[in-house]
């Protein structure tokens, strides 16, 4: 399969690889996917007192497009408020990385990871406005 230059760039130079302490109050962790399906993404966000994502980290088990999608998302969520981050859609990710149709699920997973991380953060804050139950799975 031929990859776009952007996928190759993110794959070869992944941004923000690593982990935050998931127990910290200002950290939200979202883990989506399953090993049996061939991809697992873990996205973590660090949120400041103004409700802005000031940093993000990821680790991904998956194909090149999955790694690139999660790497891209860590860049995009930084500096955004939680609601702004929630507005990132898989189509945006797929378009930015020029993912072929067979790889669209990688961008869907990346969007899910954002929701899961934000959900986890909001749950920690005792915020009932979290939209879904996804992402409560402990890493």
């Amino acid at each position: 399969m031929a990859y776009s230059d952007k996928v190759i760039d993110h794959y070869e130079n992944p941004r923000n690889v690593g982990a935050f302490d998931k127990e910290e109050q200002n950290v939200g962790t979202g883990m989506v996917g399953a090993p049996a399906c061939g991809d697992v993404m873990r996205l973590q966000i660090k949120v400041n007192e103004q409700g802005v994502i000031e940093d993000a980290r990821f680790k991904t088990y998956g194909c090149g497009s999955a790694i690139a999608s999660s790497s891209l998302v860590t860049e995009w969520v930084k500096g955004k408020t939680l609601d702004e981050a929630l507005a990132i859609k898989n189509a945006d990710i797929a378009e930015e990385l020029a993912l072929p149709p067979v790889k669209i699920h990688c961008s869907v997973l990346a969007e899910d990871a954002i929701r899961a991380a934000i959900d986890d953060y909001r749950t920690k804050q005792g915020d009932d406005s979290s939209e879904t139950d996804e992402g409560r799975k402990s890493a």
Binding site: C37, G38, K59
Partner: protein
């Protein structure tokens, strides 16, 4: 020259320069060898026919068959189709049941599926976890209405060698035909149809340093095996496969099989030492699993799962190496290798598998470079893998509730 190191000899092989050189003589007018072997009225036809029969003898010699038992086809896929559909339809009055393995090549599995649509019944047996057929289970699956058992000699993904002598004894004793897909074994494993009770055997030229688009089917004469032709026309190949013979392709397959017969023993030793060097080189990596039995295996195949690293991303990292993967992401179906799944490997390990196949032109330098790259890239990808981190923290991944998608 490409800098990519080719370690995918089970996908295809380059044509041996000696083969290519011979083939070229049968294309242009220069040598007067371009004729149609079916032309009985002039020397062009006679020369072409002579070349075709010499090649038939060379292919037969590799498996100790009579040249009259060799039918030219366009490749192993066509041979599989002709053998399985041809026998099934010819012997349909005798019975409508066939047996094969779940780990067969798609050319066999899809042909069997088609026969099911035509009213036949097919039993698909799972092999043992080492990839080999369980003879007791095979014997138990044979019924009074079973007409054919089709089992590949060497598996294309994991390289395990089935005991075709033992299977042949069983099928012959039960009066059932035995077809063997030998696309991956010809030229790598000695084959002797006078001692193996095989009735039909499929061959491919391009897996053995011959040209693509060329194959053959061995059809036993004593006891005689009958087939219903699948391709109709001018009655070529004793009516079994019509169509003008592609002389240059046939000559190429003949020469490739002649070379295989002469050089197999020494080549196998050299290739095996390179494979073992590669195996030793990757064995030091943590959480590495070898897929398939290592004893009953062709010398050029190594199939490894690197746990916690996804196969396609590993192939992307190993872009200097031309290899293949059982990962779902490399197939259109998004399903991981059905062969590894049938061996009882988990989806995770199937997703993480890489097949290395070594061949005639592989060098020690290339193998050493491959080992170096694998170490470097596995470390890099595990650094990226949340599963590796969890494994290192002692978390049992089987007990994690995953959000399957």
């Amino acid at each position: 020259m490409s800098k990519t190191i080719y370690l995918d000899y089970s996908a295809t092989t380059p044509v041996d320069p000696r083969v290519a050189e011979k083939m070229c003589r049968y294309l242009t007018a220069e040598y007067g060898l371009f004729g149609n072997p079916a032309s009985r009225s002039h020397s062009f036809g006679w020369a072409a026919e002579e070349a075709v029969e010499e090649a038939r003898q060379q292919v037969a010699a590799l498996i100790n068959a009579d040249p009259k038992e060799i039918v030219w086809t366009s490749g192993a896929t066509e041979s599989d189709n002709l053998a399985i559909k041809g026998a099934a339809h010819f012997y349909a009055k005798k019975g409508k049941h066939l047996i094969t393995l779940t780990t067969e090549h798609k050319a066999v599995l899809d042909t069997c599926r088609q026969l099911e649509r035509d009213g036949f019944e097919v039993t698909y047996l799972d092999p043992r976890p080492d990839g080999l057929v369980d003879l007791d289970r095979l014997a138990a699956a044979i019924r009074p209405d079973t007409i054919l058992v089709s089992i590949m000699h060497v598996n294309n993904e994991i390289g395990v060698i089935q005991d075709i002598d033992a299977i042949g004894q069983l099928t012959r004793s039960k009066g059932v035909l035995f077809h063997v897909d030998a696309a991956q074994s010809a030229g790598k494993v000695p084959i002797d149809v006078t001692t193996s009770q095989v009735d039909l055997m499929s061959f491919s030229a391009h897996k053995c340093y011959g040209p693509k688009g060329m194959g053959a089917l061995y059809v036993r004469r004593k006891p005689r095996v009958r087939l219903e032709a699948q391709m109709h026309g001018g009655g070529h190949e004793r009516g079994l496969r019509s169509g003008t013979l592609p002389v240059h392709q046939i000559v190429g397959m003949g020469e490739a099989f002649r070379l295989a017969r002469e050089e197999m023993a020494s080549e196998n030793e050299r290739v095996r030492s390179l494979r073992d060097r590669l195996l030793a080189g990757v064995s030091g990596i943590e959480e590495v699993y070898i897929n398939g039995d290592m004893e009953r295996r062709v010398p050029h195949n190594l199939n490894v799962s690197f746990n916690f690293v996804e196969g396609e991303s590993l192939m992307m990292a190993l872009k200097e190496l031309a290899v293949s993967s059982g990962s779902a992401c490399t197939s259109a179906s998004l399903e991981p290798s059905y062969v590894l799944r049938a061996l009882g490997r988990s989806d995770e390990l199937a997703h993480s598998s890489i097949r290395f196949t070594i061949g005639r032109f592989t060098t020690e330098t290339e193998v050493d470079r491959a080992i170096e790259l694998i170490h470097e890239k596995i470390a890099k990808l595990r650094e990226l893998s949340p599963l590796w981190e969890m494994f290192k923290e002692g978390i049992d991944l089987d007990n994690v509730k995953w959000a399957a998608h």
